[in-house]
Amino acid sequence: MSSKTVQALDRVVIRFAGDSGDGMQLTGDRFTSDTAALGNDLSTLPNFPAEIRAPQGTLPGVSSFQLHFADHDVLTPGDAPDVLVAMNPAALKANLGDVPRGATIIVNTDEFTSRNLAKVGYTTNPVDDGTLESFHVHPVALTSITVEALAGYDGLTRKEKERAKNMFALGLLSWMYTRPTTGTEAFLTKKFGARPDILAANLAALRAGWNYGETTEDFASSFVVAPAKMPPGTYRNVTGNTALALGLVAAAHRASLPLVLGSYPITPASDILHALAALKRHGVTTLQAEDEIAGIGIALGASFGGAIGVTTTSGPGVALKSETIGLAVSLELPLIIVDVQRGGPSTGLPTKTEQADLLQAMFGRNGESPVPIIAPKTPADCFSAAMDAVRIATTYRTPVFLLSDGYLANGSEPWSVPSVEELPDLHVAFASEPNGTDPKGEPVFHPFLRDQETLARPWAVPGTPGLEHRIGGIEKADVTGNISYDPDNHDLMTRLRQAKIDGISVPDLEVDDPAGDARVLVLGWGSTYGPIAAATRVVRNSGRSVARAHLRHLNPFPANLGDVLRSYDRVVVPEMNLGQLAMLLRAEFLVDARSHTSVRGLPFSTVELADVISTTLEELS
């Protein structure tokens, strides 16, 4: 065994960066899995270009994966990496600005050729020109050592050998942070089972990387990060898209209804389509439609037939689906619209995160067209948010927006897997018999006779005898659902549809204010949960009080929200848009909510939000 020292750390942030084709996402994923298996709490942030293979070695082609793991609970993927793995000059240049002085940088010196340096505008080599003198630099000839380690594999071309360099890097980092590689070995065995030579090469590269760390003097010590103290339970690591897909399947199961997805591929939502397409064994039907409009049309058709109709998309897709969402509002049928938000407007930043579709979800339709909105706060929370969306859709017979975002979709964290018995019961009753009588006293079915408590109309599915009825997007008469152009009826129906959504039962907003004397409230929604919680923790650790609350329900708002807002001297609303929630709060409650906004395609950093809170506190003192 190694005679090197082992140091204990409480937390580490590692960023793997390389060319799009270097396999950085895979490397990050594997390191994450092995870290999760060790029992650390963690949070991840993949960051990749929209182009599948941008020109090699260029700045636009840089792909990175950041992982934050610790022996305590982790709220964000971390502001700044403690370790940067730079596979080429472009990766170094693109990421160096985020790396604090004193941090460790591992560079693949093989790629620091004059040609590659010139590609990104380096006139001299930053590895030895003093650029990196404030950092702890490990120059490693990753590519050539990998190729050398695979010298015996005659069946492989040099290119194929070079491609295993990410496994070498993973092996090296696994040694540095004392991660087991058994999980990765099993993964590789499954992935490359059909190509024994490639499998053997990857396993060899992984071991070579580990051995390199252990034997080379350049790496003086390795580190351990003890498992986090997490509540008892069975855990797995999930991305937001995976958790969301599982939530939909679990909801369908608990409702005993078929799940039907109509979807058109779009980044960053496509992985939900992929995940659900693989779950046919659970009775899930997925249809890849000809366009976004057909995707939601298919979902709505399935809902009319008594299924849980779901469509998954991102902002540009929502724009196309708007008319059908309006139809679903008018038909009063259950429907789930998953919007995995990305940078906009238009095509915007397809692979980067943003939460600027809130007002689109809220108002982006013609006429008075209220739709409930639910936003998960962390990747794992996408599971219960999806179940909640199905509950509201089926109980109130309404389309529901589920607003995830690119950060939640691709980011991951450990999830305490719930037992099936503790999941909510979502059974709904279809209408089975006439609910009225005609003037002659004959039994008839009134498709718009509402439940007095929920204001939901009956869900009468085709195939039910005696309940044949016609509904459409034209205004319907109250109760009978027949076409009606009557002015008073339209006024009544508009108000009924609004009252139904306003009356949806959502839990009160819980405020986190441990000291109980805070004058400032930080209110967020969606994926800003982690950075806000981390920032308030930083502020509290410095002895100051600040309250924090997070909205899961954006429409309707929790009933106590107005009272909560009015009980603080100052309300700060950080959002990855230009102040959309703040606008709603101001309009609804006449409170002076202050926006803090950023649309850089990246989550807020803890430091940035802690500064905002500190400044606000200083203004009040």
Binding site: G262, I293, A294, L327, E468, G472
Partner: protein, 365 residues
């Protein structure tokens, strides 16, 4: 368990519940809703509605298992007047909505009612993809060559030169031939009928309903307000026989009355043309074309569809194409069923639990 034998036609209504043999015959009245019909007086839609209401009982299906889905336009009001399940949706989207319904509910007989603007303009994409997929449903495309509900603009089937409110100097838009379009979109059943020829319309509707897959029936329909007389030359008894080409499976393709009959011939793979019957007998102008809608190759059906011209000199009517191909919805359901069967039956709580746990878990005590 659904299994499709390719080549063996399976009824489009096979999985839809039928009335018991001993049950009283359904009537047109039972299929008529209590809603007042609100089309303009003289509209061709009335005739089609009457034909459909009278024909539906013949299918012997349980009424509650029939669904009519429509888009927007005059024709799309159709579902309100039938006492079945109905969904009047939004402009152009009915085929997409019907696809979701038909795929998730094999026990339903799904019908789409649409018009030339709804299906071929705003909803063109959904139409071609429904046809390509071959979803088990019947699409009735009412073609009046005009926008009616928006009050008289030209449509994608209006003739070049047609003067409408939006084309005061005449339309310069080249029209679609809906039958050619459908054939090009890989449709497995394509037919054309006249609204006024009830017997023929009923025959075609029955064949369309029986077809497993997407059946497209184009129905020429007169708009008495904005495009009156668009099909007058085909309705006029003195011209009808010289213009309408009645496609009959297994028969020679002919036009014209006895004594003045022309026969469709084709030399090699050349263009089809009508020549006098007597001339055809020599065989010099090519082989006489016999109609066969079941040909796998759609070329002949396509050529027949091209006989049609804006002048309506020769307009083929009847079933152009009727072939059997596995339907999208059957295949989708088969995949789900196979996955469930292979796993030993529907997923229960235990299987859901396993799914949630995934393959890579760890336990915190």
């Amino acid at each position: 368990m659904t299994t499709i034998d390719i080549g063996m036609p399976v009824s489009g209504l096979r999985s839809v519940p039928h009335l018991p043999q001993e049950a009283a015959k359904q009537t047109k009245r039972e299929f008529t809703s209590d809603q007042e019909v609100r089309w303009c007086p003289g509209c061709g839609d009335y005739v089609i509605l009457a034909a459909v209401q009278a024909f539906l009982p013949e299918l012997g299906l349980k009424r509650e298992n029939i669904v009519f889905v429509s888009g927007i336009g005059c024709s799309s009001r159709f579902p309100y007047y039938l006492d079945t399940y109905g969904l009047h949706s939004i402009h152009g989207r009915a085929p997409a909505i019907a696809t979701g319904l038909a795929t998730s509910r094999e026990d339903l007989s799904v019908w789409v009612v649409t018009g030339d603007g709804d299906a071929l303009s705003i909803g063109g994409n959904h139409l071609i993809h429904a046809l390509r997929r071959n979803v088990n449903m019947t699409i009735l495309l009412f073609n009046n060559q005009i926008y009616g509900l928006t009050k008289g603009q030209y449509s994608p089937t209006s003739r070049v030169g047609q003067v409408t409110k939006s084309t005061p100097a005449g339309s310069v838009d080249y029209p679609f031939n809906p039958v050619s379009l459908a054939l090009g979109a890989e449709a497995t059943f394509v037919a054309r009928a006249m609204e006024s020829d009830r017997a023929e319309l009923t025959t075609i509707l029955k064949a369309a309903a029986e077809h497993r897959g997407t059946a497209l029936v184009e129905i020429y329909q007169n708009c008495p307000i904005f495009n009156d007389g668009a099909f007058e030359v085909l309705k006029d008894r003195s011209q009808q026989e010289a213009r309408i080409v009645r496609l009959r499976s297994g028969e020679h393709v002919t036009v014209g009355a006895e004594g003045d009959r022309k026969v469709l011939v084709r030399k090699g793979s050349g263009v089809m043309k009508f020549i006098p019957e007597a001339e055809a007998a020599t065989g010099e102008s090519g082989a006489v074309v016999a109609h066969d809608p079941t040909l796998d190759d759609p070329s002949q059906a396509f050529q027949l569809s091209r006989l049609d011209t804006p002048e309506m000199t020769h307009v083929p009517m009847g079933i152009f194409r009727q072939v059997s191909r596995p339907t999208y919805d059957d295949l989708v359901r088969d995949q789900v069923r196979a996955a469930v069967d292979t796993a030993g039956g529907p997923a229960g709580e235990a299987e859901l639990g396993e799914l949630l746990q995934g393959r890579d878990t760890w336990t915190v005590e």
